[in-house]
Amino acid sequence: MSKLGNLGARLYRGEVGYDFVGKRMIWYGLSILITITAILGLTVRGLNMGIEFEGGAVFTTPKTSVSTEDARHSAEKASGHDAIVQKLGSGAVRIQISDVDPTKSTQIKEELAKDLKISENKISAELVGPSWGEQVAQKAWTGLWVFMVLVVIYLAIAFEWRMAIAALIALIHDITITVGIYALVGFEVTPGTVIGLLTILGYSLYDTVVVFDSLKESSKDILKQNRWTYSEIANRSINGTLVRSINTTVVALLPVAGLLFIGGGAMGAGMLNDISLSLFVGLAAGAYSSIFIATPLVADLKERQPEMKALRKRVLAKRAAAAAKGESLETGRDEPSDGDDDGEPVATAGGASAAAVVGPRNQPVSRGRGRGRPSGKRR
């Protein structure tokens, strides 16, 4: 792992890095593309709502030795929908299938009777109403809106309104993509799906907030220096937290991937699939958007501030001057992947203080004034 550790160090010091902010248009484009696909999927195919939301039909068999597995299998074959199968204490089987109209229900009954070897007139069929009443769905929406408003207010206070807006856009992006995938795949939307979506909601923001927190820290003294523009600092801070982002995403996705591929895959369709699919897509989208969408958006918004514009001018002017002097100063810090950008001890007045926060630490550590003692030696 020493390579990884070193990579982490070089990322941390900004020796290597990917230019997230500079190449943001690519990612914006990609996201817009996916989002449009998702919205198309939603409008064209629509969501396939499960029995809990729409009601459906319930078939009750007399006492039978059929296993619930077989019953579910044949019910799903007969109807083409997910079925909820329960054995009752009396030995009877109760099968609930969504989205069944009366004409179809007769046909399903026949097939069930044939499959399960029960005479048809002993199977009772009735329509059932949704167990997730409209009220539940409605209140879930209300909750969602209230939460969004509150979280924007909170982020605006804890960070600033630009970050709040960017986080909200990233959140909407994640949810749209997840819902769109559902429409495209045609999985039934069950309470599990809704709950998966709500989990994403918390997680997506959580991830974004962690990245923003480091961004806020690195841009604290940004106006006291004239070496980097806001976008560059934003980029550094993404790269600095990249290791954490990757680790966290891997750690969050591994169990979910286990659920999806092992749990769901082995079992075929079922509740597990519903939940883990929405979680998997949502978590991945959440991790992606916090890096590729939210932070570049903040940079975009910040660069419109007059003081940031002024900073950009200063930085560019300084670089131009340095270049004119013939010094081999880095010109395109937008392309730092060549990794030679902390060779120069540039000692501007503000440079040191900023460098202490973001810049490469290119003075010997013992210069760390105010840290009380030389560190890094023997204990």
């Binding site: 550790g5 167990s131 209140k139 909750g143 709950i195 959580y206 927190d213 169990p255 286990g258 939940i275």
Partner: protein, 605 residues
Amino acid sequence: MAAPKKGRRSPSQGNPGRTLVLILIAIAALTGGMFASGHTKPRLGIDLAGGTSITLEAKNQPGKKGEVRKEDLDTAVGIIERRVNGLGVSEAEVQTQGDEHIVVNIPKGTNSKQAQEQVGTTAQLFFRPVLTRAPATGPEQQPPNPKPSPSESGSQKPEKPEKGDSAEGDKNDKPADKATEGSSDAPSASPTTQGRVLPEALKADPTPTPEASTKPGDGVRKPTPEPTKPGGEAEAADLQKRFEKLDCTTAKSRSAIASKPVSSKEPMLACGEDGEKQWQKFILGPVAMKGTEVDGAKALINQQNGEWQVSMDFTGKGRDQFADITGQLAQKQSPQNEFAILLDGEVASHPYVTKSITQGSAEISGSMDQQEAKDLANILSFGALPLTFEVQSVDTVDAALGGEQLRAGLLAGAIGLALVIIYLVVYYRGLSLIAIASLLASAALTYTIMSLLGPAIGFALNLPAVCGAIVAIGITADSFIVFFERIRDEIREGRTLRPAVERGWPRARRTILVSDFVSFLAAAVLFIVTVGKVQGFAFTLGLTTLLDVVVVFFFTKPLMTIMARKKFFANGHPWSGLDPKRLGAKPPLRRTRRRPSGPADTKEA
């Protein structure tokens, strides 16, 4: 700089050893409590464990002809759902079946007999005068709560909340810290209450209540005789004592008091919400009028002020009774000029009376929105349920998802967890020990608390919640990762481990708190706003988020502090995950990569 520095112990650092011991004791205590209570497994929802399925058949109201209307059936579903799903965490399901049936599924482990009573009976509706009321209080609210004196400890009622229901106290049923009627809420000085077991917020009622319950009967109509039989003094005192003990802040104690059988001729205790959604407790006089005397009620908008209100019509007998009772109440002081509309033992509304109402119809107005007005009208019209139901069949059902789904889920979760652990070990090496220990602590806490919440508030885990808990692994692990990465960054700056830990912590702490706050906000909002399964989910999310903070603060951090003193970590052993060389720390370290002569200061002098 050869002299080993004593680590600067920042005051915030406290004593890591003690903190660790404390949380381990807490985990052990919870585990012990779990085994002692015999609930060693979390209750599972219907989808995982099956339960009881009750089929109800709607009967038309006598005197109404025609079909069972679909709207009525839907209304009934909503009401029954509210009854069986008190907190939204019990995972009960209610749905219509066919044109005149409602199916109620209740997870295993619920008292199915009690549940049948809950769903099957048409609610009992009574009008009783309010004798006194006070903001609901929980006995555990007061930190300096004096121990009950021996004379009273004998009469401890079962309503005493158990451990763990403080966890659900933060719905909107916080004790009302402001009595609505402007009564003071700092009354331990009140003469009636010797400040013994009395909760602080118990208000000093302007009229000492024991007497109150002895006098209201005069003039109540003949079906209700004097509420106090001979020896009423003692009973009144007893009632008062029980009133003081009554705790309306927990769902459990509320349902206990509501389901207590009371004679209609006796005063009784009850809980109810006031206009501000604060729980109040009441002493109510004998029944003044039965709900059956209400002929009908509807919600309508008052033309003059545009507010929602409810108008009721009475039967002939009801009109006389109502005129009587309102005539008496109108002359009293608040709160004794109120009558309580009592539904299933809980106060649904307690409007006050300004004048005698004699014309056989009455309006109840106040700050109601449309839904509240409709609900109240519904309650008044049908005794809550718009239809009468008969229990048609009660049947056990097995798990809807079958055990194999849960098994697959748990297996997948275990595999996922194993992968996480492998990943952490590979990436963080020695540090992963701390992460794994923290994950285990977190798992132990989650498991025990969920198991204990089953009996305490009817908390049941369904498959989505299990999946949510699996995702929570990621969120919990994230906190460690943030912390570890911070420490590593500090080491890259060229610090040695202990200062790195102490410097890294405040910054990691802030990140963890800010991001966990967002998660918690989501949970809190969803819990307050939603109903049913979403509420159950929000509860799980909030719980895991809180536990995440607890574990990181009281387990991971102290453990890290202690580990930082160990040679293995402090010297940056290649396998410790903190090897400065591997982390690519700054050069100054290279000059002095000599082994220190001894352990730094493993013992705190």
